[in-house]
């Protein structure tokens, strides 16, 4: 057969390797952050670099073309056989954007808000292809069409703010492709996008790769994306490559412990069975009042008003139909939807921070019916944990002040010593002071938020809510700002607290994987309307609506 005449794979692939990285070391500010990494990338290949924040994956990718001006580099980076680390700056500049193009995470900040898309793409064409005038315009339209933007003529005249997030990301890809690069480096290309857009974007990248024979280097912390998209994967930890290989092989049989923890942190469903808490309550026989009940609740979100009315105020979009929700005590209700679906408005209304229309009974009471002192009593029973642990703690208060704040409001009679006991108990409960000597605990209490990691901060936020012993906690995207392994830990903590204390959670998220891991019931919102509702198993296993199906698929479940 002809099989014998084919040379061994190694000799075949070696001369074809587009990019060859050997012993690449990067130091920033005198500290080495990447400790000698090696990898190859062949033309037409899809390689993914995964790792948590701070693992050095973005720094490595930017260092390929020496895009970090202060970084100290050593090792070797060869692109089509040319050494890049010693190349003179003017020659390197020619390669940037032409042979290697970058697509960054945040499409809004990567585009110049004062230029139209057409102008920005034409600039690349002029710089790298020498195209001007009519030929450049024609090519711009061609590119915009090739990335699947409808009506390219109108898009070329549009400014970045006139486009949606997905359209902007497509435009960025068109811009990157304008110079006909050999290698496309995409740094977290889907993180800023809504779940349903992510799949489209990956499909687009893959299509471009096939059509143009590009190599794609994708940097991400999202393992679903890796599994769906890449041929090979490179796992980084603390500036070193801990494992690399074909995606299937690594996912099926990870050799390194770290890779295993990463893979295991793909969320599992380990819920207390629905109603487990009501079993322990004495009033099992008669139906308990719902923890949260919405009847014909109309949610709204701000929209820009047109004409002169928009000068002074922002308009509000009111959903046409009311939302019906019910959250039983001791359970978790997941509310899923994209940005602009009204889910955050719902969360704020449940907290009594935003007026609403329709009925919303929280623990049997409606915020709108209550007087000030009664509101304050209800506040004590409803608490919140926000998405971004860096924004949700005041940077000028110490750990003790942050956690003790609720006690000062709701139990002003406590002495300082009693308060301290409660604060320590709450912190211990969220697993923050484990294994610390009492003296060390004291210094911890005097620390400020900037001295804690993201996961620790989220635990502090949970402790702040717990310390006044609420019954309902609104979780607003509680894990989406965290690394995957930390995500898993925080979810485990929330589930344990639910089991032990019989807490009810209103879980607001766009991530079906989190719903799968935590929720008993789920409600899918879109533009302020309920799309689908039911138990988490039934909705996620067999979604009826196409919208729900796209969300479930995007989460890789």
């Amino acid at each position: 057969m002809k099989g014998q005449s084919v040379p061994p794979v190694v000799t075949l692939s070696a001369p074809q390797d587009l990019l060859e990285v050997r012993e690449l070391r990067v130091s920033l500010g005198g500290r080495e952050v990447v400790h000698g990494i090696d990898f190859n990338l062949a033309a037409g290949e899809k390689l993914a670099i995964v790792g948590e924040s701070g693992s050095g994956k973005t720094v490595s990718a930017l260092s390929l073309l020496r895009l970090l001006p202060q970084a100290g580099l050593s090792g070797s980076v060869r692109l089509q056989g040319r050494e890049l680390l010693t190349l003179a700056e003017p020659e390197l500049r020619l390669l940037r954007g032409s042979a290697v193009a970058y697509v960054f995470q945040e499409p809004m900040s990567a585009l110049n808000p004062l230029l139209t898309l057409g102008q920005q793409i034409a600039e690349v064409l002029q710089l790298h292809r020498g195209l001007v005038g009519a030929s450049a315009r024609a090519r711009v339209l061609e590119l915009l069409e090739s990335v699947g933007l409808p009506d390219p003529l109108a898009q070329a005249r549009a400014y970045p703010h006139q486009l949606s997030g997905g359209q902007r990301q497509r435009a960025l890809i068109a811009m990157a492709l304008a110079s006909e690069p050999r290698l496309l480096v995409a740094d977290e290309p889907t993180t800023a996008l809504d779940a349903s857009l992510r799949l489209q974007m990956l499909a687009l990248l893959d299509e471009m790769r096939q059509r143009l024979g590009l190599a794609v280097l994708i940097i991400t912390h999202d393992l679903h994306l890796v599994r769906r998209f890449a041929d090979r994967v490179l796992v980084m930890k603390d500036g070193s490559v801990v494992e690399q290989g074909a995606v299937d092989a690594v996912f099926a049989a990870p050799r390194q412990a770290y890779t295993r923890t990463l893979l295991e942190s793909l969320l599992q469903r380990e819920l207390p069975p629905a109603g487990a808490c009501t079993v322990t309550s004495p009033s099992q026989s008669r139906p308990e009042p719902a923890c949260l009940e919405a009847m014909a609740l109309r949610v709204s979100y701000p929209v820009a008003l047109s004409g002169w009315r928009g000068w002074l105020r922002c308009g509000r979009y009111w959903a046409r139909e009311g939302v019906e929700l019910r959250l039983e005590a001791g359970q978790t209700l997941g509310v899923v939807g994209e940005s602009g679906s009204g889910k955050t408005t719902l969360a704020l209304a449940a907290l009594g921070l935003l007026p609403h229309q329709g009925r919303l009974r929280v623990l049997g009471q409606d915020w709108l019916d209550l007087q000030r002192p009664e509101q304050r009593r209800l506040r004590r029973r409803v608490q919140v944990v926000f998405q971004d642990p860096y924004a949700s703690l005041s940077p000028r208060l110490t750990l003790e002040q942050i956690v003790a704040e609720g006690l000062q409001v709701h139990e002003p009679g406590l002495s300082r010593a009693e308060r301290l006991v409660r604060v320590l108990a709450a912190l211990r409960e969220v697993g923050l002071l484990a294994g610390l000597a009492p003296a060390e605990q004291q210094t911890w209490l005097q620390r400020y938020p900037h001295e804690f990691s993201g996961g620790q901060r989220q635990r502090i936020a949970i402790a702040r809510a717990l310390v006044i012993e609420p019954q309902l906690i609104v979780l607003d995207e509680p894990t989406s700002a965290l690394d995957v392994t930390v995500q898993q830990q925080v979810i485990a903590l929330l589930l344990r607290l639910q089991r032990e204390r019989g807490l009810s959670y209103l879980l607001i998220t766009h991530d079906m994987a989190v719903v799968w891991a935590m929720a008993h019931q789920v409600t899918v919102l879109r533009a302020g309307q309920v799309v689908e509702q039911g138990s988490a198993e039934s909705v996620l296993r067999a979604p009826r609506m196409p919208y729900t199906r796209s969300l479930v698929q995007a989460s890789g479940l």
Partner: protein, 348 residues
């Protein structure tokens, strides 16, 4: 991470202070300026026509603190003693008597009636920096003038910060209609011609430092309130403020505990620049003759004298040198403070 566990916790303000001290020019400027202010606060001990302490015929006197009639020292009249009078000096130098003079023997208002040269006199051993056109010692005028300028600037800055914080906090926290209304009021208020008001008021009332301070305070807070308002508007929709509202804190607790400490950065950064602006404002008003009442030691009035007596180079030159030094030190401090409070700066 292991080293961070033994380190004492450091607050954000403490960190900024550390960064400020690491800024060598700024830290040096702060210390030099503080020294100058401290010295000027003790101006009576440095530059005074009255001796600090003296013994006359077995009695101890402290003329700095008490008014002594000339008869005490064998004079003819019960008028306050002129210690520059050669007769009094001879009396005090008699054996058995002892005098401790201030290093510079002139007060800012002292006119030396016994000077050897016509006024304005160039620098000499008697008058280190010379005298002005009324025969008053220039060093003494500068020292007391500097003190007045700095104290005036401190008071003006303090009142400006308090008013600006209050207005900005109310606008930023309550937002909406309150914000809109106050913003329009501020715009109207800032359109009032400050200089004309000063001229009119100096014609209506007897000019005084207090009146000047009041008038300048009324207009000096508006730039700051804009910054505070913007910080409040930004901070009040951050999650930690929402979380605190969900905890049940009232508006004043929210402002005091959460919003104010997190909105102070622009206020602190602008302090030195506001100080130098205030010093400059007082100097220019004095130069124009719209400022402090005549006779008060003031840098602007000295500059005006320098302009009127161009041949007396020592007046202009020394006043100019003092002003430039002061303003430069304040600017350096402001630069260092801005760097220290810049959140994008790496931690030391």
């Amino acid at each position: 991470m292991s080293s961070s566990t033994d380190r004492a916790p450091v607050g954000p303000w403490r960190l900024a202070w550390r960064r400020f001290r690491a800024h060598r020019l700024g830290w040096f400027s702060l210390r030099l300026f503080a020294l100058m202010v401290l010295l000027s606060l003790g101006a009576e001990l440095i530059s005074n026509d009255r001796p600090l302490l003296l013994r006359y015929q077995g009695h101890w006197y402290a003329p700095v603190l008490q008014d002594l009639p000339e008869t005490t020292f064998g004079g003819d009249f019960a008028t306050p003693t002129d210690y520059l009078d050669p007769f009094i000096q001879r009396q005090l130098e008699q054996p058995g008597n002892w005098v401790l003079h201030a290093p510079n023997r002139y007060h800012h208002a002292t006119v030396n009636y016994f000077a050897r040269e016509p006024h304005p006199a160039p620098p000499s051993a008697d008058n280190w920096l010379g005298t002005d056109d009324r025969g008053r010692d220039l060093f003494a005028r500068l020292l007391y003038g500097f003190r007045l300028s700095v104290l005036f600037a401190l008071a003006l800055t303090a009142s400006g910060v308090l008013l600006g914080l209050a207005a900005g906090a109310i606008q930023g926290y309550f937002g909406g209609g309150t914000d809109l209304l106050l913003q329009r009021l501020i715009e109207v208020w800032s359109a009032l011609p400050e200089l004309y008001l000063l001229i009119i008021f100096s014609a209506l009332f007897e000019p005084s430092v207090g009146l000047l301070l009041l008038l300048l305070s009324l207009f000096g807070w508006m730039g700051l309130s804009d910054y505070v308002r913007a910080e409040f508007l930004r901070n009040r929709q951050l999650d930690y403020v929402r979380a605190a509202r969900a905890l049940g804190l009232g508006p004043w607790q929210l402002i005091w505990r959460h919003l104010l400490p997190n909105s102070l950065t622009p206020v602190v950064t602008f302090l030195p620049f506001r100080m130098s602006a205030a010093i400059l404002a007082l100097t220019s008003l004095d130069f124009l003759g719209l400022g402090v009442p005549p006779g008060t030691p003031s840098l602007g009035e000295l500059l005006a004298q320098g302009k009127a007596n161009l041949d007396a180079w020592w007046i202009t030159l020394s006043t100019f040198a003092l002003l430039v030094t002061t303003l430069l030190l304040l600017t350096f401090m402001g630069d260092a403070l801005r760097d220290a409070l810049d959140p994008r700066q790496a931690r030391p």
